[in-house]
Point group: D3
Chain length 281, copies 6
């Protein structure tokens, strides 16, 4: 007698038969301002039953495919190093079974664990980042493994001009200067997504979506909301274009349920995750 499984809606297939494997990384220890993203993956899973499995945008239905949702890691809040190691190990296991890891944060730092794993397998890796913040600091008050530095750490792995940044509208002056030299940054909006898709066709791509790229009007439930973001439709359209790329790993992060009183942000994350899954399948 098992009355239900705790999985994202429509993602309760067997591990063996699934091409994509979802797992949660409930970690937010380095969040410098308002914490709470540790509850993000859990909220997405449980609130997913408020949406349908069918997408009228893509005319596809999750129930026609096989996806496995493995649940949440039990991460050690209080040690970034231990947490990143656990994430990396989990991604390694999924990748070694020739599946695609789809991680749900947590704060943006968790991306580093997954990227390390994916980069080990695919050594010419490109990253597409949707985000309000550059996340390119060298350190944050002396700490290197911080959400504010995560793309800088990724850059140190994947190298020059291998990171495409979209929607960036916040950071220190130094981060913007750094981006001009070392990444390909599209400030404020997603206008040059077509160029990016064209450039990366045939390459191995890791996709990281910091949900605060969305305007706070539609996504208030995050630690550091930044006005002037993109609309849901703009993000959805951009994500749809990535269907032509070879995405080998991905994550979606920074939903903070304690700051989502109406539940709209969680509903947005659920709908976006459904569309991303259907785009990948």
């Amino acid at each position: 007698m098992q009355l239900e499984r705790n999985a994202f809606i429509g993602c309760d297939s067997d591990y063996e038969n699934s091409h994509i494997v979802i797992f949660g990384a409930p970690f937010d220890s380095t969040t410098s301002y308002r914490p709470g993203t540790r509850f993000g993956s859990r909220a997405i899973r449980s609130e997913s039953y408020g949406i349908e499995t069918y997408s009228p945008y893509q005319d596809k239905d999750l129930t026609d495919y096989s996806v496995y949702d493995a649940g949440d890691l039990e991460l050690c809040i209080g040690s970034s190093e231990l947490a990143l190691k656990q994430i990396e190990d989990t991604a390694n296991e999924i990748l070694s079974d020739n599946k695609i890891p789809l991680m749900l944060g947590g704060e943006h730092l968790v991306t580093l664990g997954a990227v390390k794993s994916v980069y080990r397998k695919y050594n010419d890796l490109y990253i597409i980042q949707f985000d309000a913040h550059a996340d390119l600091r060298n350190d944050y008050l002396g700490v290197k493994n911080s959400h504010a530095c995560v793309m800088r750490r990724c850059y140190e792995l994947v190298g020059e001009k291998h990171i495409y940044q979209f929607g960036i509208r916040s950071g220190e002056r130094e981060e913007f200067t750094f981006a001009q030299k070392h990444t390909i940054m599209n400030r404020f909006n997603l206008d040059r997504i077509d160029d990016c898709v064209k450039a990366l066709k045939g390459k191995n791509v890791y996709l990281t979506i910091d949900l605060d790229v969305l305007d706070p009007s539609i996504f208030p439930g995050t630690g550091t909301p930044e006005a002037g973001g993109v609309s849901f439709t703009e993000l959805l359209n951009a994500v749809m274009k990535l269907k032509e790329l070879n995405i080998v790993g991905l994550d979606m992060n920074e939903l903070s349920p304690p700051y989502d009183a109406s539940g709209v942000s969680t509903a947005v994350a659920c709908k976006l995750l459904r569309e991303i899954l259907l785009m990948m399948l």
Copy 2:
């Protein structure tokens, strides 16, 4: 000594002199996800004192017209059949006095009670529906009188191609297939509203507005928020165009105050109701 009347702002005329009669249907027993719309009509009424009676959009003032707000029905939570019967009876009474019933939900199922009543009087009835959800299921977990089936039930009354659906962006595949054959559906937006107005000129029309047709950014306070909706201004403009039609009954539903922490959704509903009233008068 009566210090105040509990009516929507500017709608405290006598029943006898009023062409439009407002009543509330505080019912949400079939809401499958997040309940709370039973408090919708009450909230609209009490928060209406935060807006003005004058509309700069239409240069009209509610105080120049006569509208009667009868208050809320006491509906039996726990029995859809009893509740729908009470709604139907109330609408019957209003219609038999040659007035127009304007019902405030409650969940969308309440529309069925009002449509039954209006259809008895006007047997070639057309329905215009603004909604995020198709609401065209045959049944929901075995139940036929469910918010998720309400337009299917209405279709069974008014017949083929008599329902115009706008803003629909969520449903099962079967609902969209059904719509292609049996209703006139405008997905995602309100673009073809002009065609609709042209087609229905001179016909008897029932207007049902599920407020979740609005984007959750401006209307978070509803049970199943669906990103990618229309803006307030888009909805307002569409509503204004209906002035050319012969609307014989109408409702506005699905405001859920428990999910409206900031009060913005209720304020939006109040403002929209003022504009609808002024458009009708």
Copy 3:
């Protein structure tokens, strides 16, 4: 790869080896005032990771025993009859395997489904009810299967003076009059719990805890909070005394997470459930 199981903390044993089986009944369609208890069982399960498995009150640890948490039923919101039937069937299955069903509500009406099942197996059944409300109405606005009538329906099953009611402090005059004749009611507090335990020793007992028996100061998160209730320690002490009884089925209900902004009510429910489980084991 399964990273976690969605069970109440320490209750992830196999069904076969477990003497007690937990299941959730997420139903609140007849709630006449503020709905939301449909989310109660889910909240208890996910928030249980905020407490320990060890009880210093009883010096026992959940990890030393076997309990199986089957998850939540998918109940048809909108039809009390269908929902009660599903609950009854589930309890039947557990009882036929010689296990004890422990149901998490949902509203109090769900008790009726479980009591029907337990009564079929044990035909001289006594019920102990902790509650703020008598729940002894004959009907509620014409509906018989209502939370406000649940103990009246149970009375019709188990018979005269077979229900012990504690903490009751709200109801219609008729309910109190009815209780004087047909049940054994302890108003306002739990003072006569010792008499009850003495009287029921050796009998088959069903225990139903409506959490609103607690004072709203410690348990605000419920649909109809009633001031003047018992303290957590008083309820805990009373529950501990039931250890001498032969409890053959039980439930805990009426936690409404939408009205539990601080999370304290859910934490209280979790702690109480731990103590109840340890008392039973």
Copy 4:
């Protein structure tokens, strides 16, 4: 067709036949800390439908008596003088019809308007005050008509040792010194309520209940919560003893709905109001 009247539950009798007349004074312009009590009377009225009309404490039912609820005054937020005048006029009208005014605040300052009116009719007037705060300041930042000074203003009307204060646990040193000379203050608790009742038997008494006399655990929804207050049961018992007195006017104030997320404070106010009404009837 009028579907409902907006009155406190069970208080929808005619004005003519009612001995007690309820009215609301939605004013909080002088609240120095967290405003919001202007919504108190409205919340009490609409949430009253969550309680019963019958009291098991007194074995009485509101439906057996006649009480008229006149609704809320429309007070000028922004001018204490105008607002107090309106309150006084309303109380005058009720008193001249030989009825008892029962005012719902609003902030505590509104008491001054009602006391002025009652004092005009009954010139040897005693006041019983339940409150966490002494409210005996001479002025507050230069303003004399302030909630923090309201009992000082009342003292200037009714004179030496005519005010009995209970539950007081906050104020400036000067207020406590003043009280020693000019009022009869019972600090921290309600212990000497019997002495008070004995002393005031046969006198004309005005009763003012600042709900923050209750401990914030059971009454969080107020502007300046003060820990260490009395329990609901203690307050209820004290109120019940006042039945032997000749109460000629009364009020209950300082519920602030914006700080009552769970709704418990409003429910407490409703239950207390029911008990007060039944005690008076």
Copy 5:
């Protein structure tokens, strides 16, 4: 040992060296609907640490300039006259030191105190107002010093056609009629901002921003949210154009933290204030 100063981020220079001086006016006594703006300036200050000092929009950094944040006035809640006097005195002091006062509200009425002071120094003063509401009433329920009348009072100071109003979408009919004759009103949007800048070049300008000019989707946290407002980007672009004007005093008001559950409105206010400061510097 002083561990921190309580100033808006990057505004902790000395008074002497600063060209702009920020101060808070925590007053909302005349707010007719939902109070709470008294906590606005405090929230902006403390939440400012969630944004950066650098603006990628203007490529400027607050740390490269000198601004002094003096903190909040201690205003007498309950007396508009006293409060306006204190505000005027403070602005006088700043102006007499040849600095620019930047006041943070508080409700919109506080603008009157600052405008009085600025007008004394610059007697041919123009005002630019961004607002959802006209604020042109002659009085509000008899009170002249009300937020609903503030621009009428300012008009009486600065004279005919000296007030440019943008984004106005709410008011009584009389206010719109008044505006046609006496102010220059741009309804609904900011479209004619270029004309305004052209017309006012070389003049002394006072800028007042009522944040409810923004659409409630991005700025829910205000007392009277009005749908159909401008987007953050539209407001930002308009503000940027004012850089060509000679702004001699300014304010930003009507943030109401109690209605900002997600914190997004406060974050928007912080970001806008940073951009305004950088535009001025």
Copy 6:
């Protein structure tokens, strides 16, 4: 021109003249469940203006003494080691000036930094801990510097039977076993506080108050609320008895404002801090 200082009410004296120095340690990186205590000290400071400086319990007034509030440390979220070092350094500085450090958390781990500093100065140090949780784990998921281990770390410093624990009602079995051997634990309540005071007279004592020792009914705003706690009055009375001891350092922690919707928990913390200060002075 400085309009206000950001200090706890009545604690704005000079550092030099003050015997007690308050500072905040806004850190919660190891919080394993619900984070947010990083905002605790800030909330206490800003909400302190809702209470009076005078205590009727002790008949003392803060304005008659000199206390300096230094504000909050800027701690590195994400590194416990760095944060503890900063706290220790700050306490060292205060102690070397012969003042008493009073630290406001933050999570309970911050106590370790202060105890290290105090222990360096006073090497026969005793600790009095009020807490719901034993905090005696050896490690938490491999991490030693965790809130769940803080008293174990302190024990390793101060030695056998040097820690008096009160109110403890949660922990693993091992923690209770450990306590029996190595600390002096008073479970569930504060009953043996007199024995403790007697035993420690003349000794150097560090006092640490985890506010979750209070019952969640009066203190809901904390990360892991534990029902069955002590009342405000019980804690106040116990604190008052410590006046006979030689307290050389102290802290109060675990207020989590995001879980304090009503603000009552913060108000309780403010009032308790006032009483602690007055007890020390």
